[in-house]
Structure formats: C-alpha cells, structure tokens
C-alpha cells in the first residue's frame, strides 16, 4: 500500500517518476552507463546488439530502394546547420563546436583560467568553429544532392549520428543518438508515396517486434512564439507522422520513428531539381534506433535471453 500512497497525484510528476524509474533500472542492469549528464550514456554491448538488429531489419525493409547507403559522422559543416534554417527554428537544440584555433588566441590566459578557482572559465577563451553537431541524420546529405535528379527521383539510405541539446531524465530523450533514415528526393507525388509507404513498413516492422505502436499526426518542437505558428502549419498539413510506442511512461508514448514531408524546404535551399526542372521535394523516414531498443527493453524486459525466440531471431540476438 505504501507505493500507492506515495504515487504522485500530478500526472506530469508521475511521468517524471516513471522516466527516472526506468532510467535507474537500465543503469542498474548496466545496459546503459551514466556519464553524470542527463541524456548522455555509455552503451553496453547488449544494448548495441539490439541496435544492430534493428538497423539490419530497417535495411531489409528498404532493400532495393536506395541508390546508395551512406554513413555520417556526428559533426557536419556549421554552414549546413545554417542553411537548413535550424538555428531559427530550434536554437535551443543546437550545438556548435568551439575551438582554440584562432592564431591570435592567448594560451597564457587560457592556462590561467584553467588553473583558477573557476576552472570552467577556460572555455570562455574558445571560439565557435566551422563545425556543428549534426541536427538530423539527413541534413548533411542535401549539399551532396545539388543538381538534377534522375527522372524517377532518388532514395538514399543514411546512418547518422545526431545531437539535440535537451537534457532530460527520460532515457528515451538522449542528447547523443542515432537515426537510420531512408530519404527520398524527387517530385511531390513521389515524396508523399515514399512517406506513406514507410509509415506502413514501420508499423509492420515494429509490430513484428511485439511493440504496441500507432501512427499519429505530430509536429516538431519549434522554438518560441514563432515556433507555435510553424508547429500549427506542420500539423494542419500533416507533414509529420510519428510512430509512437510506450517506453518509460505508458500514458505518454514516445516517438520511435517519424516519417516527414519537407516539401521544397531543402530542395530550394540546396539547389536540388527534378529531371523536369522543378525544385525537388524531399521526404524522409527516420528510425530512432536507441528509442526502439528502449521500447523493446521496456516491453520484453531487461534480460534479452528471456525474449520471445521469434523476436530474438528477427533481431539476430
């Protein structure tokens, strides 16, 4: 009875408590290891085996559709971040790499700051570099696609590492995470067909893994008052469909995969054109592989050896 009386009445507080409880379970089982920073974890080999299994399933689901498969690092040119309009829409999530490479940099001042009582003050001597942390797996792809697309458009499979500055005790909200995407570039109809086909494939794939999922109309967390308008526009045009599953908090399912229409947003900025000379439309499906792994751990338990043999086989565990 104690647990019942201690249960917070406030739903938001209950969700927070469930986030903390699931994170603590994951850490106790050493599936993830704490770094002391919310949302940044070291990952066990057991966790990575699940992720590899998911990646292989996603690749199989899109087999034969992609012209090429690319693997992106965590860093990208800062210029790409700027050209995607990300700083305007998501300034709070952005990360730019700072460095001490300026020829006029004062090393003595840096050492003095480093040795002072306020050790962190040495970072005040750093300056923003031309590098940014990758905001979404598909962003570094667009500069490589400048020019004219084939008549049927093009699909590229992308394995990307991403960063979002949003510390949280929710283990599903990582600051450093990966997205496995299939990106389409071509005309408007092709973009919609790609997006819609992938919603079906994603629901089927997650269902085979025993997850209770649903596809919902969603919006990105655009920043500030202007973000309200962007989010409302995105929602009213159904540009973003998320596949959600319960992870830490059953009452607040988490997006584990999302399928998005970008309209001409990237095509215009990056000079990508269809074979008929129109500005290209783009669309992507992104699988949040860590989140899917966490949804599986939540659904089937933290001991992988106890999972349903069919699911273990799907994931080659």
């Amino acid at each position: 009875m104690t647990t019942l009386t201690n249960r917070p009445a406030d739903p938001a507080e209950l969700v927070l408590e469930q986030h903390r409880a699931f994170r603590d379970e994951l850490l106790a089982a050493r599936l993830l290891l704490s770094t002391g920073i919310d949302g940044l974890y070291l990952r066990s080999d057991r966790f990575e085996r699940i992720v590899r299994g998911i990646d292989a399933m996603v690749s199989r689901a899109g087999a034969g559709t992609a012209e090429e498969t690319l693997h992106f690092p965590l860093l990208m040119p800062r210029e790409v971040l700027e050209r995607t309009n990300y700083p305007r829409s998501f300034p709070n999530l952005t990360g730019v790499v700072s460095g001490f490479s300026d020829p006029t940099a004062d090393h003595a001042a840096l050492v003095q700051a480093f040795d002072s009582d306020d050790r962190a003050s040495w970072t005040n001597l750093l300056r923003p570099s031309d590098l940014a942390l990758c905001s979404a797996a598909c962003h570094p792809l667009y500069p490589t696609q400048q020019g004219t697309l084939p008549a049927e458009g093009r699909v590229v499979e992308v394995f990307g590492q991403c960063f979002r500055r949003e510390p949280s005790i929710d283990p599903a909200r990582m600051q450093s995470f990966r997205q496995h995407e299939f990106v389409y570039l071509g005309n408007a109809e092709g973009a919609r067909a790609h997006r819609d086909a992938w919603i079906g494939r994603a629901l089927e794939l997650h269902g085979r893994l025993g997850l209770s999922v649903e596809a919902v109309n969603a919006n990105d967390p655009f920043f500030g008052r202007t973000g309200r308008l962007l989010a409302a526009s995105q929602l009213s045009n159904s540009l973003k469909i998320e596949v959600v599953a319960p992870i830490a908090a059953p009452s607040a399912p988490t997006a584990i995969t999302s399928a998005n229409l970008h309209l001409e947003h990237f095509g215009e900025e990056f000079g990508i054109h269809t074979a008929t000379g129109q500005v290209a439309h783009t669309a992507c499906v992104g699988f949040g592989v860590e989140r899917i792994a966490l949804a599986l751990l939540r659904r089937h338990g933290l001991d992988l050896t106890g999972w349903d043999p069919q699911i273990r086989q799907e994931l080659a565990l």
């Binding site: 309200r228 962007l230 409302a232 309209l263």
Partner: protein, 82 residues
C-alpha cells in the same frame, strides 16, 4: 490597414505573385508563401502594428489571406482599445 498588410507581405511573404493584385481573400499559401515566410510576415505585422499575436492566433488560418490578417489585427486593436 490593408495597404500596409500588403506592403509587409511584399517584403516578407516571398509570394510567387504580385501581392498588390491579389484578391483580399486569396489563399497566400497557395500563392507561394511557405510556413517559414509566414513567420517573417507575423513578425513584420507585429512590428508595424505594435501588437503581439496571442498564442491562440498563431495558426495557419490567421495568416492565410489579406482579409484574415486584417480581421486578426482588427480584433487585436479592438482589444487594446477596450
């Protein structure tokens, strides 16, 4: 007011057509205004008319035509006057 709205649309709306010859009820989004451009229009309107759109007005429909923008601004200035 309508002329000033059109000036702001010309400056920020990135429309594919001449905004001064558009019908007041014409759908601005259908005439090329992207959602990012509509944000700039919103900021431009707030500066020009010295108002702040409340959260419930930050919807696509508020900015969808010259007429809908005028209605929204009128309701804001009426609120201020009242």
């Amino acid at each position: 007011m309508e002329r000033e709205i059109r000036q702001i649309l010309a400056a920020h709306g990135r429309l594919g057509v001449d905004v001064y010859s558009l019908d007041a009820d014409a759908d601005l989004y259908r005439n090329g205004m992207t959602s990012h451009a509509s944000v700039n229009v919103m900021i431009g309107l707030e500066e020009a008319f010295d108002v702040e759109f409340p959260i419930e007005m930050l919807r696509r429909s508020t900015f969808e035509s010259v007429a809908s923008i005028e209605t929204a601004l009128n309701s804001l200035t009426a609120t201020l006057a009242g």
